[in-house]
């Protein structure tokens, strides 16, 4: 009987397609990146090995440095501001009796839309001449804000749009964890005289720590990965103020055919992602599994 599950031919049949695809579209690009990152390959001219030049260029490039900072803004904004709001909203939804399903369904809606459509939609909302925000400000006699045209506002505009898209997704994640907590625990606390706020803070939040940790992790990963929304809304502008690492890389590589430099940037992005993941795992992410 054991032999049935020890048939190498069958094993290979199940494994090989996956390994082939994975090797070709993950591992090969990964390793070829490492090679190209040390060359000046641009598809047109002769390719030369240029050592670490691409990396020194990247860090010497002021635009790339500001792109790194913009990724940091994304992290700070999504972890520092979004996560608390997400937790509060999830707690509120879990505590209401009526309309729970309605809230859950509605808040999740933006997350199923494509980022590019959301970018177009919000570009419209932000429009200083005809967008509703301008009209709203005009109500109070305020001048329209040039959201996507002024360097000081553009980043905020993108961050808000990004939050609009993803907050609901994370709310639903946390909600699922809250609803999985056995009712008895909460009821026991209620009998003990704890009010709703106390129960939420001292009971629910500690119990959902693992999923909060997941949300923070996903937020960091998302912030490192962000690119679509920037490309669609501002393409890095105005004056480079919303450029993130990935959009900078894409523009450099594709616009100038500077593939060597582009892959070097990709490796830097990967390194950043690894470092952040590691830091997080070693510090805050070390939560134990909680048994009820």
């Amino acid at each position: 009987m054991k032999n049935t599950l020890k048939n190498p031919a069958v094993y290979l049949m199940f494994i090989i397609p996956t390994i082939t695809l994975y090797g070709l579209f993950f591992l090969y690009p990964m390793f070829s990146s490492v090679f190209y990152a040390f060359t000046n390959w641009n598809g047109l001219d002769e390719t030369r090995f240029i050592g670490l030049d691409n990396f020194t260029t990247a860090f010497g490039d002021e635009s790339f440095r500001s792109a790194i900072f913009n990724n940091m803004y994304f992290i700070v904004f999504s972890v520092g501001l979004q996560v608390p709001i997400i937790i509060i909203l999830a707690l509120l939804i879990s505590n209401v009796k009526k309309l729970k399903g309605f809230y859950k369904t509605t808040v999740f809606m933006p997350s199923i839309l494509s980022t590019s459509v959301i970018g177009i939609l919000w570009g419209f909302i932000y429009d200083p001449d005809i967008g509703p925000i301008s009209a709203f400000l005009g109500f109070f006699g305020l001048d329209p804000i040039y959201w996507l045209a002024e360097p000081k506002w553009a980043m905020i505009a993108i961050l808000l749009t990004n939050a609009w898209q993803w907050v609901g997704f994370y709310i639903v994640l946390i909600l699922a964890a809250i609803l999985a907590i056995p009712k008895e625990i909460d009821e026991a606390a209620e009998i003990d005289g704890a009010n709703a706020t106390q129960r939420a803070w001292y009971l629910t939040v500690p119990l959902i720590k693992p999923i909060i940790s997941v949300v923070v992790m996903l937020s960091i990963a998302g912030a490192m990965r962000v690119v679509d929304i920037v490309l669609v809304m501002t393409n890095g502008g105005p004056a480079g103020s919303t450029e993130v690492m990935a959009s900078y890389m894409v523009n450099k590589a594709i616009k100038f055919g500077d593939y060597g430099y582009g892959t070097a940037l990709a490796i830097i992005i990967f390194a950043f992602a690894l470092v952040f993941t590691a830091i997080y795992q070693l510090t805050f992410g070390k939560t134990e599994r909680i048994e009820y």
């Binding site: 040039y146 004056a239 594709i254 100038f256």
Partner: protein, 468 residues
């Protein structure tokens, strides 16, 4: 067990065939004579594989990809001309079907085409800009078709004006400019009259007009700087007027520096305009079409733009609201600037290029396309319908057919100019041009001083010049 494995394999296979049916192959790697004409995904191009051995005369359908930039309302006149040429050529060449692919100008020039050139999968016919960063670079890499023999065969060479400078490498011609243009000031005569202003033909009048209009809440200059090339048009003319000699060719051979006092002075003037609020508010978020809209709606009094925009103000153009109320002049002489003050920016920089990897059928199609597009009739139509200055010699009689006052003004301005210079973006390397856009946006956003702008661009210029 075998049967079950087969089920899965069949499933996978079925899926991939489904995909194959819906997917598409690259133009030249399969021969599929049944190029579907449905607009679905299956309508992909499938030119027959090149089999030079069998030039059969029977009609076998084939498609030729054609990348153009005539999308959107403002380009409709140009698109109409192209459509007619396409139709005519398809009728002449048996089996030919063009596959038109319209892409926005800047996207095509700076993103799509460079990527395709690097990959070697450029369309067969495509919109192409001249100069070091475009046509000449691609020609060097062997991607462009040498057109010299075709021009000889069609006896076209002498019919062109002297317009091949930015498309010629080692004596061979790699692109055909569709026409010419110059960049200057469009102004709304009605707004000027209503406000008792003199036409902006002298610098003093221009500044006075800008100040007065600004005070009255009318935008002096419509401007749109989301894409850096738009404000770069005015910058280019300011540079040409400020630099005594060597603009723009001196930039690449190192004799002219971006951080020289002359160029910094030009950027300072531009910054001055920004600071005085002469340009559209929020210009960094505005697109090129926004600029035309603003000017066309009478919200802005002037607009620095290329002569190609003149067709927008025709009775059936996008900006027809101000039809008959628009005039075109060269930027007036700038006081205390070192350059030649009657010089203008003039280019024969945009036209069509052709892929070097054509098979026999495609070559025939290209020849017919050239013959149908580059002739007196289409050139004259381009001029009268679209305001594009001809790149070919037209008879005086033909030129006499120009009735549009605005086109006439463009022609007169061109004639009156003391000299002309090409746009620096056709001379400097791509990375340098990108840096000029980047730095100009910083200047507009007040994040860099003119000197910093010049220094930063020169740094990239030095790197690029050293690469050779």
């Amino acid at each position: 067990m075998k049967r079950n494995a087969m089920v899965i394999l069949t499933l996978i296979l079925a899926l991939s065939t489904l995909l194959a049916a819906c997917g598409s192959k690259k133009n030249n790697d399969t021969s599929s004579p049944s190029a579907s004409t449905s607009p679905s995904a299956s309508a992909s191009a499938s030119a027959p594989a090149s089999e030079p051995a069998s030039p059969s005369k029977e009609v076998e359908p084939f498609t030729v990809s054609l990348r153009h930039i005539q999308i959107g309302e403002p380009q409709k006149f140009r698109k109409a001309i192209l459509d007619e040429v396409v139709k005519k050529t398809e009728a002449e060449v048996p089996g030919l079907k063009f596959e038109l692919d319209g892409v926005e100008d800047a996207v095509n020039r700076f993103t799509k085409l460079p990527a395709e050139m690097a990959a070697g999968n450029q369309p067969k016919i495509f919109d192409l800009f001249g100069g070091n960063a475009d046509a000449l670079k691609y020609a060097k890499a062997g991607r462009l078709l040498d057109l010299t023999p075709i021009l000889d065969e069609l006896q076209l060479k002498d019919k062109f004006l002297n317009v091949f400078g930015q498309f010629t490498l080692d004596g061979k011609i790699y692109g055909l400019p569709i026409g010419g243009n110059m960049e200057g000031v469009f102004y709304n005569t009605e707004i000027f009259q209503q406000n008792g202003l003199n036409p902006p033909t002298t610098w003093d009048d221009l500044i006075k007009a800008a100040d007065t209009l600004k005070g009255k809440g009318i935008t002096p200059f419509a401007q749109a700087s989301q894409a850096g090339w738009v404000p770069n048009m005015l910058v280019d003319t300011l540079l040409g007027r400020h630099v005594a000699a060597g603009f723009p060719n001196g930039l690449t051979d190192g004799t002219l520096k971006w951080n020289s006092p002359e160029i910094v002075a030009a950027y300072t003037l531009y910054q001055d305009f920004v600071k005085k609020g002469y340009f559209t508010k929020g210009e960094l978020g505005k697109t090129y079409d926004d600029m035309l809209n603003e000017f066309g709606a009478g919200k802005a009094a002037m607009m620095f733009d290329g002569s190609w925009r003149s067709s927008a103000f025709k009775a059936d153009g996008v900006a027809k609201a101000i039809n008959g109320k628009v005039a075109f002049i060269a930027l007036p002489a700038i006081p205390n600037a070192a350059g030649e003050q009657t010089s203008i920016n003039a280019n024969y920089g945009n036209g069509y290029g052709f892929s070097s990897d054509l098979n026999e059928n495609e070559l025939a199609a290209v020849k017919a396309f050239i013959k149908n597009l580059y002739n007196d009739e289409m050139q004259l139509r381009g001029l009268t319908e679209d305001g594009v200055l001809p790149s070919m010699k037209l008879s005086d009689e033909a030129m006499g057919k120009v009735t549009d006052p605005l086109v006439k003004q463009v022609l007169d301005t061109m004639k009156a100019a003391g000299s002309s210079f090409v746009h620096f973006d056709s001379v400097v390397q791509k990375a340098v041009n990108a840096e000029t856009e980047n730095q100009l946006q910083k200047l507009i956003a007040n994040k860099a001083t003119p000197q910093e702008v010049g220094d930063a661009i020169q740094k990239v210029q030095d790197t690029e010049n050293a690469k050779k």
